[in-house]
């Protein structure tokens, strides 16, 4: 991969092609003692562009430290993603290759209670072909293969866990401002050594409409989707068909205040019964203002309520206030209630987070930020703890 990167760089210099690179390092501690439970995430990549093609190479390296207040289930892994997009008139071809290497063999539960195993690495090639016809029709087809290298704990058998998926859809932009779409996807999961071979598929038919006759500064869109599932869940029960209706609205209350509201309600159809499916209600209000620095300032307040077989409630505050030049103050706050996998919380817990920090965006594309956060949750005995989030990024193309 290293030699490939060098080769691409040489091609860039030789032929004066477009070249964009970036590096981002984020670190998050999650503990009373700052530094314990440190999660480090390093992203690096570049994009090479030609006349009708581009190539993107991205590397993501993630490690998670011990000693956090909450037990971490996160994997330590390195992910390499190579993607290209080539356009021939109305036809676009998009090959991808992703290699994911586990740095300390992450544990996974094998399907059908076949025991546990360690995942060592995975390889994922994919190909997407899309075509637009006469501006109004779009056709897309995708094939994806996911091969996971698994070492089973119980049987001392090394096995390959593969998933093959292929699907496609056709989209029609109707002349009156709506759209109609039909598509489907099919997945097959196989673990050869454990004799596991299951598949499921889904066919979607959806329609949406965005009327243009509403009062100024109002956007309203409605969508309806019907999904037919074929397959079984992990317990052997059939997957239900699902109808989902969504309503989204954006209203500019004032010149610099935007309110975004979304509702979604699903209904599930089993063989002989119909049940209410998941419900979602969300609202987001954004207030933009000039501030005192060169970076645009904004404060966003959002809330969400969902009901499915679990309930979640989320209230969030995010603010970036320009202070001087590229220096901005960051403000964060979050109230969350939802299901908990932490022992002793009774299945649900609350999280209250409040924090603040500084961000510095330099003109050469270098960004850095540091945020101190205080989090409280109904845990015992450590129900309040501190956290530091920090990062450095270099995005020269953003200058």
């Amino acid at each position: 991969m290293k030699y490939f990167a060098v080769l691409l760089l040489a091609v860039t210099v030789a032929f004066s092609l477009g070249f964009e690179e970036y590096v981002q390092l984020n670190a998050v501690s999650d503990s009373i003692n700052y530094g314990d439970g440190l999660r480090k995430d390093v992203l690096a990549g570049f994009r090479l562009t030609g006349g009708n093609w581009d190539i993107t190479l991205a590397e993501d390296w993630v490690t998670n430290g011990e000693g956090a207040v909450l037990p971490r289930f996160y994997r330590n892994h390195s992910e390499t993603h190579l993607e290209s997009r080539i356009t021939f008139g109305r036809l676009t071809v998009n090959p991808e290759l992703q290699y994911d290497m586990d740095l300390d063999s992450a544990m996974v539960v094998l399907p059908l209670s076949l025991g546990e195993g360690y995942r060592n690495s995975s390889l994922q090639p994919a190909l997407t072909v899309s075509c637009s016809i006469a501006d109004a029709f779009e056709l897309t087809g995708t094939g994806r293969y996911w091969l996971r290298d698994i070492a089973s704990l119980n049987s001392d058998i090394d096995t390959e866990w593969s998933e093959t998926s292929y699907g496609g859809d056709v989209l029609w932009h109707t002349p009156i401002g709506g759209y109609l779409s039909a598509g489907g996807v099919s997945y097959q999961t196989k673990l050869d050594a454990l004799d596991y071979d299951h598949s499921w598929s889904r066919v979607d038919v959806s329609a949406g409409y965005t009327p243009v006759s509403f009062p100024a500064m109002t956007i309203l869109s409605a969508e309806a989707e019907y999904s037919l599932y074929n397959g079984e869940d992990y317990s052997g029960s059939g997957l239900p068909d699902r109808f989902t209706a969504r309503l989204r609205a954006v209203q500019n209350i004032a010149r610099n205040v935007t309110c975004n509201i979304a509702f979604s309600q699903a209904a599930d159809f089993y063989e002989n019964e119909t049940r209410f499916g998941p419900f979602q209600s969300a609202v987001r209000t954004r207030f933009k203002f000039g501030g005192w620095g060169s970076v645009p300032s904004s404060v966003t307040l959002s809330g969400q309520l969902t009901e499915s077989f679990v309930t979640t409630r989320l209230g969030e505050l995010e603010g970036r206030i320009g202070l001087y030049g590229g220096i901005s103050a960051l403000v964060t706050g979050k109230l969350w209630y939802g299901p908990s996998s932490v022992a002793g919380t009774g299945g649900y817990r609350t999280r209250e987070t409040i924090g603040g920090g500084l961000e510095f965006r330099m003109q050469n594309g270098l960004n850095t930020f540091l945020v101190f956060e205080r989090e409280a949750s109904n845990l015992s005995p450590n129900d309040v703890w501190g956290r530091i989030r920090g990062g450095v990024g270099f995005y020269p193309a953003a200058r």
């Binding site: 999961t189 009901e307 969350w336």
Partner: protein, 82 residues
């Protein structure tokens, strides 16, 4: 605030209250809101069943492998899974 805006916000509030009174409902499939998902991959990392993968910036849940352990719901920083 225009009359239309007030009416719209009132209707939205009423709909939310009525829908919320229904309480938790049984369903075998998790939902992923693609408009909220930022593709950070935290759900994929915490899933012990290997049932989630991030494709083209959106998480995709395999309903055949999902055991509804709710770890992805708890881990998602955007509240995109429910």
């Amino acid at each position: 605030m225009t009359r239309f805006t007030r009416l719209f916000l009132l209707a939205a509030l009423a709909f939310t209250v009525v829908a919320a009174c229904d309480g938790p409902l049984a369903s075998a499939l998790l939902t992923l809101d693609a408009s909220r998902c930022i593709g950070c991959g935290e759900c994929e990392e915490v899933c012990p069943y290997g049932a989630i993968e991030v494709i083209d910036g959106d998480a995709v849940i395999n309903p055949e492998l999902c055991h509804q352990c709710n770890r992805c719901i708890e881990a998602c920083p955007e509240g995109a899974i429910y």
